[in-house]
Amino acid sequence: MGLAAFARIRVACDPAIVALAASTARLLDSRNALGLAFMLPAALLLLVFLTYPLGLGTWLGFTDAKIGRPGEWIGLENFEYLWGDSVTRLALFNTIFYTVVASAIKFVLGLWLALLLNKNLPFKSVVRAVVLLPFIVPTALSALAFWWIYDAQFSVISWALTRMGLIHQYIDFLGDPWNARFSTIAANVWRGVPFVAITLLAGLQTISPSYYEAASLDGATPWQQFRYVTLPLLTPIIAVVMTFSVLFTFTDFQLIYVLTRGGPLNATHLMATLSFQRAIPGGSLGEGAAIATAMVPFLLAAILVSYFGLQRRAWQQGGKDT
């Protein structure tokens, strides 16, 4: 029915091409006005609640604003204070550590899962749907489940390991600084792997099987096929996916807030959680905003490294040309 309607319109169209050319000139005049009118609602909302706060946040970082008290311009004082503040430095280290380790693990496991899902499996669509579940449910709520799984007294992991005779004492997952760091990373990886895997799977499905046939005829081993066919062709999409993954991980808030609130001894505080703690419960809007503003350059650097770093690899390997 859609095709028939399409054909009918085409027929009606042909004798009117001359008229079209004439009306195009008039149309172009109205295009700018109409385009502006159509853009207005979205643009207005984004300008007021996104662009303006972005500027306001940067400005607040240079003031001593408190909740309920407009601040005075104090220049770089917040940043100078934060640079000397050991907790902020620790939070910066934690954020970088968390982002690098979690992103690397998410990439390896996500790629592996994508390759597994790309095989001919029975119930393929069901498996794929199930895999994405951790990504779609509210992170704050799944983090609560992890909180319970990591409980110092009743952790099911400790219970199972004790029964297997591997450990004799329950593990203090969130009470020890390094345990807490790796426990939060594990929860972040759990949530992020489905996103990486499903998007990379979409990339894998665009690679023509004939490349693999050609490679196998030339005697390439499975590893060589992966290394010289799959990886180069997948690199552009890996660059995009990992850029998003790094962005989400670097600015993570919910998971840490629910699991540890930055503890123990600030060992898991990220820039985002520290900025929340200083600004909202602490009341120092200026200081919190300064921490948030300080995230921006690191964020840009992380995006540039993951995006252009990977893109250049693609270009060097000729991935772009194909």
Binding site: G35, V130, L132, P138, A140, L141, S142, Y212, D252
Partner: protein, 298 residues
Amino acid sequence: MSAARGAAADRQVVDTQGMNYLTSLPRRVVTVWIPLAVFLIVLLFPFYWMAMTAFKPDDELLSRAANPFWIHSPTLAHVKHLLFETSYPSWLWNTLLVSVVATFVSIVFSVLAAYAIERLRFRGSRYVGMAIFLAYLVPPSILFIPLAKMVTELHLFDTRLALILTYPTFLIPFCTWLLMGYFKSIPVELEECALIDGASRLQILVRIVLPLAVPGLISAGIFAFTLSWNEFIYALTFISSSEVKTVPVGVVTELVEGDIYHWGPLMAGALFGSLPVAVLYSFFVEYYVSGLTGAVKE
């Protein structure tokens, strides 16, 4: 010739689609089935654990002797506590209301914006398109402090309207970006013909473009709804009264009291807060996945 080559390929273990028959079964079990099973068990375990805990009586929960993986005498006590002794029902209602309104507003605004950028091609539309994409990259964790100040100054603190107004800041960029891709796939000729027949741009959008972009609208809608349902940092910052909270924030801030954690109600709250998005998602998996992958590929 092809027979000889086929024989050569036969000796290789080829892990590509369509050539799986060449892989022996035991090898396939080790390289595919076992890793996949481990992945699935780990990815699903927290949900299983939520469900187990939600229906398990307290004495079983706090015992190290019993097998924790099963329930011996299931109970609805935690669910009852959640529904009748906490504000959980009103959190559910708030989350639903805020998500539906924010999604609807964002879709309408995004349709207009995406159509203008992709089809009206007004002067500077390319730059606006880029700006929309950049807006998508701005994380809420650097916006919540200035937004909290604005929300307070606009006297919107502790209202649902604060959330309805701020959620579109991350929904509109995403939906616009997604819909631009869908609009691009609709033939321009259709619109030109309608223009000649005297249709206005708005009529074209409503009568021709939108019906053809229904899959895109569903993708954007599902995505926007789940993103709003899952939102945490804005709801945590802008809301303080229990009766206005959303489910994720309510469960995290109100159900955790003191040092004794009520794991039963907590996990029941997490379970029933996750179910609506999980059910909605299960009905529209294909749309969700195409939205996710489409947005990344673009």
